[in-house]
Amino acid sequence: MKYIINCLACLLLVFITGCSKDNKDAPNATINGKVVFENQPLGLRSNGVQLELWQPGYQLFSKIPVHIDQDGTFSAQVYDGSYRLTMLRGSGPWADKTDSIVVDVKGTASIDFPVDPFFVIKNANFVKAGNNINATFNLQRVNTTKNLELVRIYVGQTIITDQTNNAGTAQKAAAVITDLSQPVTLTVPVPSSLSAKDFVFVRVGVKTVGVAELLYSLPVKIAMK
């Protein structure tokens, strides 16, 4: 009996003292940033687009994936140190670039990550008209290596409204949009599942040929009542 108690006491000792040693603190530094074009954040699909964070100087290393939110912001919890932030090729609706941005983290770091998008949406304006929502916006062509495929309007119940999460969409193909200097209009009916709600969220997206992700306007809340 005494032996068992001794054993338990030993184990207890190990449990109490064992933890503090050899354990690293959790990452305590934060990198905050946003993806920008002309100092304006770009709207994206939540959980769709990724950047990569690399920390050189070790024999074996792997990337820290940094997912971008729907409003173009991102954040990562890391250790203090010097990192390199770079694009994941083919991930976002912008031209690939192999340059990386050096991020020195001490406590916090805040960075803007400039990109070279194919198209951006400007002056997006949404008006509720009866049971429809009308959007008016300008398309600006930035990087001209790829062509326009379509523009699409999304209506959804939450601020995360995009290609994957939406209750209703309408679209216009590139063939219809002949003059980019003129504003583009789109109309989407509010689906019956949302028409009784107090508000809905809408945004428009632009798709480039051969690029999976769309570039969106920032989500706008429209009061239904």
């Binding site: 994941l88 090729r89 051969g210």
Partner: protein
């Protein structure tokens, strides 16, 4: 003492005896029987995404030797969903496909094959040259087959054709090999198959036409693999550049130049035609009952002239599986547990045409949607449907194993202005008795469902027929089933020929082959006169459902991300169901007692299928890159 010495010292080497428990290298590599049993091990280790068995390693989802076939994956795409025990309901709730979902890196099998080839060459001195050549050819076929499994998941992988042996020098970097180009791996498969196809053996020329083994590789198996692999390479070359141009790597490890497409299509077509014209195989048909004919073409083992290469099972040797136990229709199950795990989708049923050539959308409501269409019998809505539908699935009113599948979701009671839907809480419930005092005492819920919530009963209104054993007691845990898994059959080769010919502009050749398959399914001769790629894709789906094709076809044609978009309003991403109801409407003889059908999203199906760009090429795990920094990442990784 002296006597002893004289007695025992005579025999030389008396103390050197052959071990009873150890086999020496020389004994293995000189004994055709032992090499054959080694081959059986390699055949058994060929991986597939879906199969009939249940091989999943609990830690990382696959056996360390790469052995991996999982029948439950049939529930993960749009062919079907999970209706079995609720602990696997996650298959109905896949919000997206994991980036390592189709991971395969089974160089353990490649190494074992390379080792065998080298040792037969080096140590097999007692084997005669033709035997050696046959074994080596067979091993090279298995290696090519495995590289095909690797390349379709991972893109280009390092081609290793000899053993990599560490010399204990402390420096292992010479063993590192970079990834080959995706096109190089397909070219390797092509050249290997060309080199060995005439030396594989396993064909008996005693009969005319010759009889080929369908469980061991032979010339026709090699042609079948070539037909499929070259088609994959061709469609990746063509459609990757067209639809997903960002899926390439700088070194060509992923992405095949579009200019190579036609060459691959031609190679695939040539292999398909050589196989079809050899006359060794024929489409098995049953004009009186096309559904039964199609079922037997895949499943019947004796005298089957259609299958080219199978993974065979045999009850007598205790090589059996539980597929029938897990998937037989609920109402005719013979065990007291399981059944109904995979239930086929309405999507698949509607992909096949009606025999008059009209699109296969089931007619459950009037064209203006004002009322249901009332059918006399639950099976009538499927009348004149493509025979392959009835051969692949069981629907309300089908008969299987001598029983009729009784399916009814509930009754619809007319209350003067609209129908009130009543569904039972248990299978076989009756519309009457104490629970429903106004009822007529007739059936409320079929013995085979469908039911919205009960587990182990179809959630979609359909059951699987393909690969389900008709033998008595085969759906019990005690007896189990020995239905084979079909790697290749002539039906696929016809579809391969159709697609390759269509892409090469030889539309008449394409039409000839696709129409032969449709004739077997009950269509009149020459039922199709024009072709589109989408038509070929849906015909291919109907022909080859549940045979591990649908996923790979959508991937190689780059249609997966536009088909499974993760949007619940996109019907192709959602598994739909068909629920039959009995009408209670006394006083209206045209409707009372008739059957109507409701199309719904399967109630247990939660998340629309979502295939993203990064799913086209499975991510390479970090530990592989750590071990070999020459390995480059896949796109979007």
């Amino acid at each position: 003492m002296f006597l002893c010495l004289f007695l025992f010292s005579c025999k030389k080497d008396w103390l050197q005896r052959e071990s009873k428990s150890l086999i020496l290298e020389e004994q293995v590599w000189n004994d055709p029987k032992q090499i054959t049993s080694l081959l059986a091990n390699f055949y058994d280790r060929l991986p597939s995404d879906i199969g009939l068995t249940d091989l999943t390693d609990p830690s990382d989802g696959r056996y360390s030797d790469g052995r991996y076939t999982q029948w439950r994956n049939m529930a993960d795409y749009d062919e079907g969903m999970w209706s079995g025990q609720s602990n696997q309901d996650g298959r109905n709730n896949l919000t997206s496909y994991a980036t390592d979902r189709w991971l395969l890196w089974n160089y353990s099998l490649v190494r074992d094959i390379n080792l065998t080839i080298e040792n037969i060459e080096k140590l097999g001195t007692a084997l005669d040259a033709p035997t050696k050549l046959q074994f080596t050819s067979e091993l090279r076929f298995l290696r090519a087959f495995n590289y095909f499994q690797l390349v379709k998941r991972m893109g280009g992988v390092p081609i290793i054709t000899n053993q990599l042996i560490y010399d204990y020098s402390g420096e292992a970097s010479s063993l590192r090999h970079p990834r080959n180009k995706e096109a190089e791996v397909y070219n390797f498969i092509d050249s290997e198959l060309e080199a060995i196809k005439n030396t594989l053996g396993n064909v008996s020329t005693n009969s005319n036409p010759p009889a080929a083994s369908n469980s061991r590789a032979n010339k026709y198996t090699a042609l079948a693999l070539k037909s499929r692999a070259m088609l994959y390479a061709a469609s990746i070359a063509k459609y990757n550049a067209l639809l997903t141009p960002s899926l390439t790597t700088a070194g060509g490890e992923v992405g095949i130049p579009a200019a190579m497409a036609n060459g691959y299509y031609q190679k695939s077509l040539d292999a398909s035609l050589e196989l079809i014209n050899s006359g060794v195989f024929s489409l098995s048909a049953n004009p009186a009952n096309p559904a039964l004919g199609f079922y037997e073409a895949v499943t019947k083992k004796s005298g089957n002239k259609e299958v080219i290469f199978v993974k065979d099972f045999l009850t007598a040797k205790d090589k059996r599986h539980n597929f029938s136990y897990d998937n037989i229709a609920r109402g005719i199950r013979e065990d007291n547990l399981s059944s109904s795990s995979i239930s086929p989708s309405l999507n698949l049923v509607e992909a096949s045409d009606f025999l008059d050539g009209s699109p296969g959308v089931l007619k459950n409501k009037l064209p203006n949607n004002s009322d249901y269409i009332y059918y006399d019998n639950p099976g009538d809505i499927f009348q004149n449907k493509d025979g392959r539908t009835g051969g692949t699935i069981l629907y309300p009113g089908s008969s299987f194993k001598g029983s009729t599948i009784e399916m009814l979701a509930g009754v619809m009671v007319w209350n003067g202005s609209t129908y009130q839907v009543v569904e039972g809480t248990q299978l076989g419930a009756v519309w009457g008795g104490a629970a429903y005092p106004t009822g007529d005492g007739k059936l409320l819920t079929g013995s085979s469902g469908p039911h919205r919530t009960i587990q182990e009963v179809s959630n979609t209104g359909f059951y699987l027929r393909k690969y389900i054993d008709e033998a008595s007691l085969s759906s019990t845990r005690g007896v189990r089933s020995d239905i084979w898994w079909v790697w290749f059959r002539l039906g696929e080769i016809y579809m391969n020929a159709t697609e390759a010919a269509f892409e090469l502009g030889q539309t008449s050749v394409a039409l000839t082959h696709i129409n032969k398959l449709r004739e077997r399914a009950g269509f009149p001769a020459n039922s199709l006169t024009t072709l589109t790629l989408d038509k070929i894709i849906s015909e291919r789906w109907v022909e080859l459902a549940f045979e591990d094709h649908r996923l790979w076809d959508l991937i190689r044609l780059r249609k997966a991300h536009t088909t499974w978009t993760g949007v619940s309003s996109n019907p192709a991403s959602v598994v739909s169901a068909l629920y039959p109801y009995r009408i209670i409407r006394p006083g209206d003889a045209a409707r009372n007692g008739k059957y109507v059908f409701e199309k719904i999203t399967a109630p247990r199906f939660r998340a629309p299928r979502f295939f993203q760009m990064q799913n086209y090429y499975t991510f390479i795990p970090q530990n592989i890159i750590d071990n070999n920094p020459l390995i480059v990442r896949n796109p979007l990784q």
